[in-house]
Amino acid sequence: MENGSVPENSGLRWPLSELLRPGRLGLQTGPAGIKVRARIPGALAELMPFKGLDEVVAKTIRDLHKLELPRRRRRVEGARLTCTWAGPKRWLVEAPAIAPPGPIEELEQHIAGTAALVRQTDGRAVLQMSGPKVREALRKGVAIDLHPRSFAPGDTALTLVAGIEVHLWQLDDVPTFELLISRSVADSFWDWLKSAAAEFGLECAAETSESTRVMDSASLEELGATAVTSMNTPQEIK
């Protein structure tokens, strides 16, 4: 289901989605310096290998997705899985919206016992930013160097913007950046961005959604059936 068709009062809430109404903010003349859209990721999880098992986990990812887990501040993209460095021995894995069992569930089975895989799909919001003035707007909050000599497509960084923790990466040479923020601070972050981008003109596009909004019967069976049967038995609670 497209987000646009979810009625206001359904109770389904994605951060940023209701804030970024398509249209132009700030300076109204000339081409917009910044273009921004919310991207709703399919599935996000944190991958943290258990002690001494980094290589085992790296091999699992390699075998499943032909991806090398990046050692430091890089993001690698595969057909069905993207792995972004998220700190020492920690990666953010992202998969497109595929009804469970998707790549995340598949990965979960394969890495069982070798790594923690913690779902964060609902805890994060992703903002996509591009435009000729995107670096000039970002440097009002981002203290690290985003100049092409220092930061290239595929690079990633964990930093602070306006006191808000941000995980950002560069997708391409346009340049397009993506900023991952926590759900609860989406409003505050948006307030900062509107203020930072106003002098350049800020164009909001409709969001791109990769998420399954309603659990289909398959997912219900997958998550629900086990839940019900495991109610009083000592078994892992997802």
């Binding site: 609902d122 009002k140 109610m231 609670i237």
Partner: protein, 993 residues
Amino acid sequence: MNTIAAPQRYRLPAGGCIDRSRTCTFSFDGLRYTGHPGDTLASALLASGVRLVGRSFKYHRPRGIVALGSEEPNALVSLGSGARHEPNLRATTVELYDGLVAESQNRWPSLSFDLRALSQLAGPLIGAGFYYKTFMWPRGFWEKVYEPLIRRAAGLGRPPTAPDPDHYDKVTVHCDVLVVGSGPAGLGAALAAARAGARVVVCEEEPRLGGRLLIERGIFAETPANAWVDEVEGELRANSDVTVLPRTTVFGTYDHGVYGAVERVSDHLPEPLPHQPKQRLWRIVSKSAVLATGCIERPLLFANNDRPGVMLAGSVRGYLNGFATIPGKHVVVVTNNDDGYRTARDLASADVEVRAIVDVRPADSVPSERLRGAVNARVIHGMVREVAGISQVRAVEILSDDGRERIACDVVAVAGGWSPNIQLACHLGGKPVWDEAIAGFHMKSAPRGMRIAGSAAGIFSSPAVMRSGIQAGLECASDAGFQGKTFEPPAMNEETYAIRADWRLPAAKGKVFVDLQHDVSIADIELAQREGFGTIEHMKRYTTLGMGTDQGKTAGVNAIAVLSGLRAMQMGELGTTTFRPPYTPVSMGVLAGHHRGKALKATRLTPTHKWATSRAAVFIEAGLWLRAQYYPVKGEDWFAAACREASTVRRAVGIADVSTLGKIDVQGADAAVFLDRLYANAISSLAVGKVRYGLMLREDGFVFDDGTVARLGEKHFLVTTTTVNATAVLAHMERFAQWIWPDLDVTLTSVTEQWAQIALAGPRARDVLREIVDPRVDVSNEGFPFMACAPLVLRDGVPGRLFRLSFSGELGFEIAVPARWGEALARRLMEAGAAYEIVPYGLEAMSMLRVEKGHAAGGELNGQTTARDLGLGRLVSRNKHFIGRAMAERQALLDPERPIMVGFRALDERRLNAGAHVLSLGSAVTLEHDEGYLTSTAFSPALGCWIALGLIRRGNDRMREKVRVVDPIRNQEVNVEITHTSFVDPHGERLRA
């Protein structure tokens, strides 16, 4: 305002960097004047013949414009009105615009007639250090009488009272080479570094690049300076790796090549253009930097050297060449170096009469024939004894070998020598050294990464200045890995300087000012020395010299000279005061940037925030979070709403969003071991599918935080924390996992944001829950007992987690779903609960319920309480090691006299206040009788009176004792009875129902 503007009588018919095609009209103290774009307020006032621009800080003496740039000590004005009123701006840096409204400061009732100037008669009373001696008695008078009086009289401008309507930006920029200043040295450095391929940032305080190139004649032998500057600026701006920042002052040097700068984006406009900030704070992160900040001219010391019309000679020349403004018609130049002759030369070529050049140097040290010949003025080898005239210079009295001589004039141009502008090289602790050859302080070494070029490095001849800039630019670029080639600047004229500084004074009656802004005279420095404040830093504090908004830029070296003379020391021996940021004043607004009002810090919103808003919830801040405080209906106040909500939970059922509690996912083979060490109570014995209360101590043995630990799997736990400590607890855990026990196999991550969690509490909670969960889920007391946890599926297929927990003391569940479903869950619970009178409840009701139940929370977990103090001693394990165990066993913490947590029940209907102290009945209200204090209070709807939790000595032995609580701040006293902490359902039957 008068309708007819005063004519620009002191403007030359041609020349200057002003746009004569347009005229700006402005007002100063209500009178109307005109100027041109390109003028500063100072140059426009001078062009209109305005000499008197302010009154001095202490003595209210009339003062005029002294300098050309940001070093100006006197000409402080207020600009604008209403919320855009801005005080203490230097007229020399205010760019003129049409409609500008300026006011002088520190005068009453008017600038030309100032009654407070009478304070000069009280001069002896308000000399140096008068703050410390004059107003000592009676003691109570200081705050109420003396200080307000002094503040009113010793005024700068008044701050605006309305909120600032403009916004400010903050920017971080990275570069290979930062160039501070864009005079000949700065432009040379910028060009060299940019051509080498380095990323360059150039900061220039003035609106245009060029520095003294724009205001001096004859620096270049052939090339017109303006054209060359334009060409260089064009080349720099065309390079996408060069950032050119005019109107930008670098105000501070910080560690690791970081510099702070303020760009005055809109200050030259009546108000900022739409979407533009007023000012922008630049945090410049550089690999290396060229300090090309030039130098600042010093005044000379003689009696009444503060009279309007006494100006720096280089500034007089700058007004003439840069603004086509002559500050007077009859000038006397006083100089101790060759540069004064250049002012005389330029004045002469503009047909201004130079009545004399008073050269302080002996007769044998005169400048070259060429320079002297261009002047055609009488040269007197001597010194000015004093200045005549009060609100304007009328004459100077000169003392020379030929005796005393009086020369009438309206301007005294003083050339006391140039001080290298090295503040930015000293901010990291560098100490300047005295160089007799240039009679100035400069740096032997600069901070790492910084190179000093041009006159800031004590180089005073233009060709050498530019060459040193080019060299510094090349070296800085090379440090960053860019090899460039040197280049030849346009041919330049050599200049001589030949300074012979002599600070000896001829005796005269009038005051000799050293610091004009703070009215510090030589007599004040003498007094400081006499009274034992003879080191440079002591003298500064005692006299306040150099403590004005100009930070003594023109005063510092002269003060050192005077003091070292008094102490018969060398200048270098005495040293300078410490230079600290900011170089020029920085407004609070630009430091705050976006972060003011609600944007001071981020606000965190819960997954049900929008829904709660739709139910008219009133919110309260809890850390960064906004949480629902209460949900008023039909005009209820907070108290009525909270009582209704709490009673409904006790009687029927209610829901509250508890998503803000910290949630930490803990996994790994050693997860149980890790948590055993982290918590004071045992965790490893917890069965999968069960939850346990967890108490965490700090290393010093005091309680840190509490929460729950749920065992989701053999090697998988979910830990909750209090809302406020969520970040601190995770940091604490990370620290131990990474540094102290790196051998343990454990992973940690916050899942607070992932889950929306709603507490469902009350006797009808299970009935409501049944309606929303998949019918196959067993939620019976047998199937899902107290402190159980399990995965969950709601009727519409939403997966989640279910916990049987209670903070309220009622039958309670906490339902967690992925955050996107949080609002849907709240709606479904409200629909399903309608038949059971369900209500949403906020923090106020939650607090009532938990105080009734006797749970420790924020007021009790205050960093000063131990597990024993809180009645949780039995939880603390004796069979394992854990953080805080050893320190918790310190004798003082086991003292039976330590206050312990109990309940208090008010004996009448009056309110109890947290923080009130507990005393025995009948004892006097003194500290000795203090027995403890209230930590949390609430009205109890269940009991119908105010109740409290608090700490009191030997509390466990004093049940039913009547004591009183005294609140001296609110002047209240209430008798209370000591009770157990659990006011409601002490045996926990409801929890387990």
